[in-house]
């Protein structure tokens, strides 16, 4: 993969997003990305926000929605081949769009689909891809000009920041010599903008033509996962209760449901026979590392803390301000969990509804 010439690079314009849809419904990440694209486009010279919508029998409601969230233009590839996600036809479609329309930036959601699609497309169009970004900025590359080489510093580059090595380091990556600058973006990180009711976008129909080849897979069956039994070691969000909760975990279950989390507990709860042993966090239970750990009515003895202190964010709710759990918590509320948890659940429900 060689570097492009300045002239070649200059042909690439605008900020493109892959508008992921499943069963003809836009995924949340599609709207998060168009919102983010409007922010990035504002910092580039007369750049437009372009959504790329791939699928089959796509309704106009999807394009309208994309327009409301900031898309100036929607490129639609509507073909029976694109009914369900398959690596090859989707890669072919998106790579063809890139080759035809030459976007400066191409954003893809880091969903299961996007993580599969992004690398295939970037390889096919011979450009760089940064995976799983949590922050995107327009800036200079290198960040500080090298003395004596000020003229070589490139401006208005996409600076892509992502956690690496299991979140232990943060890397900021640029793609100065090839276009498009591609990134997959972690869902839930970018803020949606206020939708502009009635906003319209230019619709461009595009068909790259599909020919089945050996890379086409055959989908035998699509299984919708409705299992709500999650191994607490795999859960991203844990709502954990201790003796302070008592026998009735309804409040915690409601909170877990609102935030998409899983209920776990301390040893005291298991010993009291309120919860099964496989939900126990701690030295004699399971060691967990979720993104968010709610410690509710848990005093925070080391025997428990040893099993959860590696969590990214720890939120403690306890009536005792001297409880040791507050030593490890990032956020803490001193008060009655029976009052706090329901309010928290309501607020989260409201926030989710407005997302």
């Amino acid at each position: 993969m060689g570097a492009m010439t300045k002239e070649q690079i200059a042909q690439y314009k605008d900020v493109y997003v892959f508008a992921q849809q499943v069963d003809n419904e836009l995924s949340g990440i599609a709207l998060e990305l168009t919102s983010e694209a409007t922010r990035l486009a504002a910092e580039l010279d007369d750049a437009k926000v372009v959504a790329v919508l791939l699928g089959s029998d796509l309704g106009s409601d999807l394009t309208d929605q994309l327009a409301e969230y900031g898309a100036d233009r929607v490129i639609v590839v509507d073909d029976p081949m694109l009914k369900d996600y398959m690596t090859e036809p989707y890669t072919h479609a998106l790579a063809s769009v890139i080759n035809e329309f030459k976007p400066e930036i191409m954003l893809v959601g880091a969903t299961a689909i996007g993580r599969d699609l992004g690398p295939c497309v970037s390889a096919r169009v011979a450009t760089g891809l940064t995976a799983d970004c949590t922050l995107l900025e327009i800036g200079d590359f290198p960040l500080k000009a090298i003395p004596g080489k000020e003229a070589e510093q490139k401006h208005k580059q996409l600076l892509m920041t992502r956690p690496a090595f299991g979140g232990n380091t943060i890397a900021t990556i640029a793609c100065p010599d090839n276009r498009p600058q591609m990134a997959t973006v972690r869902p839930g990180v970018m803020q949606k903008i206020e939708p502009k009711k009635g906003a319209q976008a230019d619709i461009i129909k595009f068909n790259p033509g599909f020919e089945k080849n050996a890379k086409y897979v055959e989908i035998q069956e699509i299984v919708k996962n409705v299992s709500d039994v999650v191994d607490i070691m795999d859960a991203k969000i844990l709502v954990s209760g201790g003796r302070g909760v008592g026998e009735d975990f309804t409040l915690l279950e409601e909170l877990a449901e609102a935030i998409g989390g899983t209920v776990s507990c301390s040893r005291a709860v298991v010993d009291s026979g309120w919860k099964p042993k496989d939900l126990q966090v701690g030295q004699t239970g399971k060691t967990v590392r979720p993104n968010v750990y709610f410690a509710i009515g848990i005093s925070g003895a080391i025997q428990h803390v040893a099993g959860m202190e590696e969590s990214d964010i720890i939120i403690a709710i306890n009536k005792d301000e001297d409880a040791p759990i507050f030593d490890v918590a990032d956020y803490g509320i001193v008060g009655d969990l029976n009052k706090i948890v329901p309010q928290l659940t309501e607020q989260i429900k409201a926030a989710v509804a407005n997302k």
Binding site: R267, S299, A301, Q303, D320
Partner: protein, 383 residues
């Protein structure tokens, strides 16, 4: 300096020994196997007066000295470590602080039933976050009108759930000491059955498996104002003084375990034959036994000296720490060697020595680890 015991002590020992052989030994294996608190033994011990040995007669006790009590724990522990610690925790950790720090009303109210064994005693100091560092207490007691309100939990409490009277240590505030805010700690008497006082986990242990080791849970547990034991803010001193005495009880338990293992082994090596002669005829066996017996004799002298010190001195922490440290480590070593001298049979649960070895380990840990004893001893040396 007279090392001979008085006739009274010898008579008491004979009584304890007979009781241990007849009443305790037959149950020892089952109590261990089933992790069963030997209720029937406790009832028999109560009748025999073992539950109130060093309590003055005026409060319904036997009015004997600490040495007599230590000998009781020693003799019981020779056949069953579980039974030894039941008596020790009850006497040293519950009766003694009430006797030492209690008001006349408190002594009259609690000691007679405890001394008669109608009620069992326990002591709640340890918490999940406060083991050796007993200052790290989290359990709180707040005065609300005429009542203290307790919140928190205690763990690893001997006699838990079977005991009726609990000495509980809790934080009652903060005080400034040498420019630093420190917790103010006080001691309380809490009775089983008080609303808000429940029992949590029963621990499954390596040894002393019949001894009930429970978590105590206090959730807005209200006790009368007059259940404060000693002065408010002096709870740490109450706890430390209590543990000084308790260490004599545990030292006696360790002593009994080691002596019991030694006696059992002496009998075994005289019977067991290999290479055409008893294994007692091998010099290795003889030397091992010589070392074991010498260690236990040294431990006994230390334990008895500590018991004497508690009777005759104001401060006996130094003697108690030395006795407990040495006796516990000697017990661990002697029981381990006892298993070795039994060979493969020593590793089988049908023989008593493996139980003694499992029981011995805890004596190096509870009522102050061996490391804590070394801290106490060296602090005394470097005063």
């Amino acid at each position: 300096m007279d090392f001979a015991l008085t006739e009274k002590h010898e008579m008491a020992r004979t009584l304890f020994k007979e009781f241990a052989e007849n009443e305790v030994k037959p149950l020892a294996q089952d109590v261990d196997e089933e992790e069963r608190f030997p209720v029937e033994t406790v009832e028999k011990m109560a009748k025999a007066g073992f539950m109130g040995i060093p309590i003055p007669k005026e409060y319904g006790g036997q009015g004997c000295d600490i040495l007599t009590y230590a000998m009781c724990v020693e003799e019981l522990s020779k056949v069953c470590g579980t039974t030894g610690v039941i008596v020790s925790a009850h006497t040293s950790l519950c009766c003694d602080p009430i006797l030492t720090y209690g008001t006349e009303e408190q002594k009259k109210k609690y000691l007679p039933d405890l001394a008669a064994g109608k009620k069992i005693g326990a002591f709640g100091l340890t918490e999940p976050g406060a083991g050796t560092d007993a200052q790290g207490q989290q359990t709180k007691a707040v005065l609300d009108g005429d009542e203290w309100v307790l919140n928190g939990s205690k763990c690893f409490i001997t006699n838990g759930s079977y005991a009726d009277v609990y000495i509980v240590i809790a934080v009652t505030g903060k005080v400034e000491k040498r420019g630093r805010m420190q917790k103010e700690i006080s001691a309380f008497i809490v009775e089983k059955g008080t609303p808000g006082f429940t029992f949590g986990t029963k621990e499954k242990k390596m040894g002393i498996r019949g001894s009930a080791t429970y978590e105590l849970i206090f959730q807005d547990c209200r006790i009368p104002k007059e259940n404060l034991l000693g002065q408010k803010g002096k709870g740490f001193a109450v706890a430390m003084h209590t543990l000084d005495g308790g260490r004599i009880g545990i030292a006696a338990q360790a002593l009994g375990l080691g002596e019991g293992a030694l006696e059992t082994t002496i009998n075994y090596v005289k019977e067991r034959k290999q290479f055409g002669r008893t294994i007692s005829q091998f010099q290795n066996t003889q030397f091992q036994l010589a070392d074991m017996a010498t260690k236990m004799q040294a431990a006994q002298l230390l334990v008895y000296r500590a018991a004497r010190a508690k009777d005759t001195q104001k401060n006996y922490g130094f003697e108690a720490a030395q006795a407990k440290l040495y006796a516990a480590e000697a017990a661990m070593e002697v029981t381990t060697k006892a298993v070795q001298l039994h060979g493969g049979y020593g590793y089988i649960r049908e023989y008593d020595v493996e139980r003694m070895m499992r029981d011995a380990k805890i004596t190096e840990i509870y009522e102050g680890t061996s490391e804590v004893q070394r801290m106490v001893i060296s602090a005394n040396l470097l005063k």
